[in-house]
Amino acid sequence: MGKDKIFNRRTFLKALGLGGATAAAPAVVSCVTGDKQASTQEPPVGKMTYRKNLKGEQVSILGYGMMRLPTVGDQGSAREEKDAEIDQEMVNKQIDYAIEHGVNYFDTSPAYCKGLSERALGIALARHKRSEFYVATKLSNFAPETWSYEASVEMFNNSLKELQVDYIDYMLLHGIGMGDDGMKCLDERYLNNGVLDFLLEQRENGKIRYLGFSYHGDIQAYDYLLENHDKYKWDFVQIELNYLDWKHANEINPRNTNAEYLYGELVKRNIPAVIMEPLLGGRLSKLPDALARKLLERDPEHSVASWAFRYAGTWPNVLTVLSGMTYMEHLKDNLLTYCPLQPLDDEEMRFLEEIGNQLAEYNTVPCNDCKYCMPCPYGIDIPAVFTHYNKCLSEGNVPRSTASPTFAQERRAFLVGYDRSVPRLRQADHCIGCNQCSSHCPQRINIPREMHRIAQYVDNLKQQKFNDEKES
């Protein structure tokens, strides 16, 4: 991006010295008290790091994202059966555990989990005192049928009902910059129809306590909303930030903007940042083996994922870091990272930056398995195809030459694994290229093009034919 880098690491480190969050840093050593421990896997209670919002309210640095909820009978592999209903019992259990360990920010949307996320969160939170949590949801009027004022207002009211609350703590315009034309979409969804005015009104009368927006895609829309900050008074903005997107988002997909710029714009205006995709949908926890080894070598006692969470939390203007924790193990691991947060030092930042540089070389498809593209009307399991392809890339199972001594083994791992992860009728070769999906993708992936590229690769792999392919 041609934008000036207003926020480099030096200014960051200065800011770090001032940031209130660092006060908690020394507490991390408390887990090594000299005595032998029974376990290091149980997160401590009462050690959560908190950040202050503009009004001085304490928000936990770990926010619970409700986009990837557990489902009944989920074996973690058979995607066909993932159509199962949400495992409410598990959701309740995990939310109870999170609250017990100090998490107080819960982020959902009317669109998540086939539209069932808000209800599941509402059920779980209704069992707690209203003062114990902040709930964040979005006005997810993506479908043109819901662009009207009436439909959008109805969606807002429905969120209150599903969440079983009288007011929303954090309300977001959802996915600003998405769609084929980001500015036009912004106009149609929020500006021309008076929906943004409605939301501002609700903030006035207390049904919304804080108003912000989440951003993906077209930078014009982002800049436009921030330029009008004086008018709208954003209380927070939700952006994608992690050690890959900090400098490489634009390089990986020219239609995207580096997190460095996004974050800098917020710091300039003193708007707290809510972070999404700190882990890139798990891609930063399932790093290629070679990179994962580097992280584990440095710190064998902490997970690969913990680095990404510490990275996001280290930035002082960050209010909370959202993580879609499907399993209790995810939750516990994140709590271990954030109870309390030990910010990265300068050297560690440089180290992660280097990991990010190397990761950018892997040419993975930047899919974070958010499922916004789904359901594909022709039955393709788009995120499953990308996830499998990325997994094979990280594991070194994407052979490019039959001459390689491990070709047969890698070929088998790719093809057998492909059939395991994606039923044949939902694989890339069935993508007809209708392109109904691409406009829903927050990462702005040209999905049909990637599908056809993968289908071609699979076909070559099956035929063991590699003469015409040069990967871009």
Binding site: M67, S77, R79, E80, K82, D83, P110, A111, Y112, C113, K114, G115, S140, N141, F142, A143, E145, T146, A151, M155, C370, K371, Y372, M374, P375, C376, P377, Y378, G379, D381, R412, A413, V416, G417, D419, R420, R424, L425, R426, D429, H430, C431, I432, G433, C434, N435, Q436, H440, H452, A455, D459, K462, Q463, Q464
Partner: protein, 493 residues
């Protein structure tokens, strides 16, 4: 001794032949498919002179040892008879040969072959009967076990096993398999080798050679005490103790009598003198009536409730594809022509059981019943695979190489405008053209005068090989908007 060697050999052959049929990956078939070439009917259909000569020679030397150690159906009956014998020993009795039935069954097979009633030939060939049973009834079990192992392997991140689709390829074939199994089981349970000596035309043909075999069972009358034990243990019911005679046309050289005789009155050797006089009587034979209802597996798809708002996630239900009405069936590359396949195919299912693209399935047509034909609901005939051609023992699918296979035209694609999603859904598609391995499909504007009009596929039938990629990958359901019509005569492009 003879019996023990026979049992050992038969167990080995049985296991290998069964594995050959059960294997779906091609890994075992590649090493074992030669076993199919040792079978008499395939050898005859393939005009395999070496195999025929060897089988004739073996029979002329040892008698009908073929029926005991080479024929899988014979061994299967021995297995049933052995189980039955555990309950009741010495239950057989000598009975005269039912020659009229044997010869009429042989005549029926020959007439059926000449008249082109291929289904009847297939039903009478013991090797193909075993193939039908193994493929229709045992292979699904084998696959389920494999899928269980695949699930375990997946759990341990191992790629040693991969899961495969188990599906009902043809209900009529399953019915035939179950009926034949029941009939054979009942006959073998009660009377040992009844089927082999009354119905099986292969047994009847070999019987004529076995009359003159060099080695035979024969009596030493001086030692025989007429205890009848040999006859009671003879599953072919061919030992006439009263007259001290053995019906060599029915003896399958199993060696049971040699071990039964406590007085050494029976020997397996070259006879000094030779006589044979079979006589006729009747016995009830089993009818071939059996009605078995096969279970059709129907995937019930719950329709996704689509709310007005856009929500994330979920999978669209995929409607099951139905095979189109083809005026000419599509036959695999290597079949050469409809005539070649139907005349030479003995419907043993070896190709069907090994088609891992799920293309081949047994025909339901009465004349070509159980012979392979192609359909593309679950996959298409991929360019890197010629497994069916590799395993076919009869030459019904000629052993063609991959180069030849991809340039063989077995049919051509036909576009059905009213099914095409470009028309019905108003979306851009072109998946058929994108995946056509021979580049025979081009996307052209629906209205030639309007470059803006939607692009639809146009098939260059001269370049189309009929592999079915377009039909399989066509998004239109349940009927594809592009499908393959078979050709009677295959040709090389």
């Amino acid at each position: 001794m003879l019996r023990k060697i026979r049992i050992l050999l038969s167990v080995v052959v049985m296991v290998l032949v069964t594995l050959m049929f059960l294997d779906f990956s091609g890994a075992i078939k590649a090493h074992l498919h030669w076993l199919a070439h040792t079978q008499l009917v395939p050898a005859l259909l393939a005009c395999n002179a070496i195999a025929i000569a060897v089988l004739v020679a073996i029979t002329l030397i040892f008698g009908r040892i073929y029926c005991s150690v080479i024929c899988p159906l014979g061994i299967m009956q021995d297995l049933v008879a052995w189980l039955s014998g555990k309950r009741k020993k010495n239950r057989y009795n000598y009975s005269p040969a039912k020659s009229w039935l044997r010869y009429s069954m042989l005549a029926v097979m020959i007439i059926a072959f000449i008249a082109g009633i291929h289904s009847l030939v297939a039903l009478l060939d013991p090797y193909s009967t075993y193939g039908v049973i193994a493929t229709s009834m045992m292979q699904p079990v084998y696959m389920w076990i494999n899928n269980g192992l695949a699930a375990i392997a997946q759990h341990y991140e191992s790629y040693a096993f991969y899961s495969t689709d188990v599906w009902l390829k043809s209900l009529p074939t399953l019915v035939v398999a179950v009926a034949m199994t029941c009939m054979l089981a009942v006959l073998a349970w009660r009377g040992g080798r009844t089927y082999c000596n009354t119905i099986c035309p292969v047994g009847t043909v070999l019987a004529q050679l076995a009359r003159f075999s060099w080695l035979k069972i024969h009596f030493d009358e001086s030692k025989c005490k007429n205890c009848n034990l040999c006859s009671k243990g003879c599953k072919a019911s061919c030992i006439d103790v009263k007259n001290h005679k053995v019906d060599y046309t029915r003896c399958v050289t199993c060696g049971n009598c040699l071990e039964k005789c406590n007085f050494g009155a029976l020997t397996y050797s070259h006879p000094k003198k030779e006589k044979s006089a079979p006589n006729d009587t009747t016995d009830a034979t089993q009818g071939r009536r059996a009605v078995i209802a096969g279970a059709a597996v129907l995937g019930a798809h719950a329709a996704l409730a689509q709310a007005k708002k856009k929500v994330d996630g979920g999978l669209a239900a995929i409607e099951e594809k139905q095979p189109p009405q083809r005026s000419t069936p599509v036959l695999p590359p290597g079949a050469l022509s409809a005539n070649n396949l139907s005349t030479r195919c003995t419907a043993c299912q070896l190709c069907v059981s090994g088609c891992d693209n799920n293309v081949l399935r047994p025909s339901g047509n009465l004349i070509t019943l159980m012979q392979p034909e192609m359909s593309f609901e679950r996959g298409y005939c991929r360019p890197e695979c010629n497994k069916c051609a590799q395993v076919c023992p009869t030459g019904a699918i000629a052993h063609i190489g991959l180069d030849e296979k991809v340039s063989t035209q077995v049919g051509h694609a036909v576009w059905i405008k009213k099914n095409c999603v470009v028309i019905t859904d108003g979306v851009a598609c072109g998946n058929c053209a994108r995946h056509c391995p021979s580049g025979a499909i081009e996307m052209v504007p629906l209205d030639p005068n309007d470059e803006e009009s939607p692009f639809v596929p146009a098939v260059n039938t001269e370049k189309c090989t009929g592999c079915g990629a377009c039909e399989y990958l066509c998004p239109a359901r349940p009927f594809a908007a592009i499908y393959v019509e078979g050709h009677e005569q295959h040709r090389t492009l």
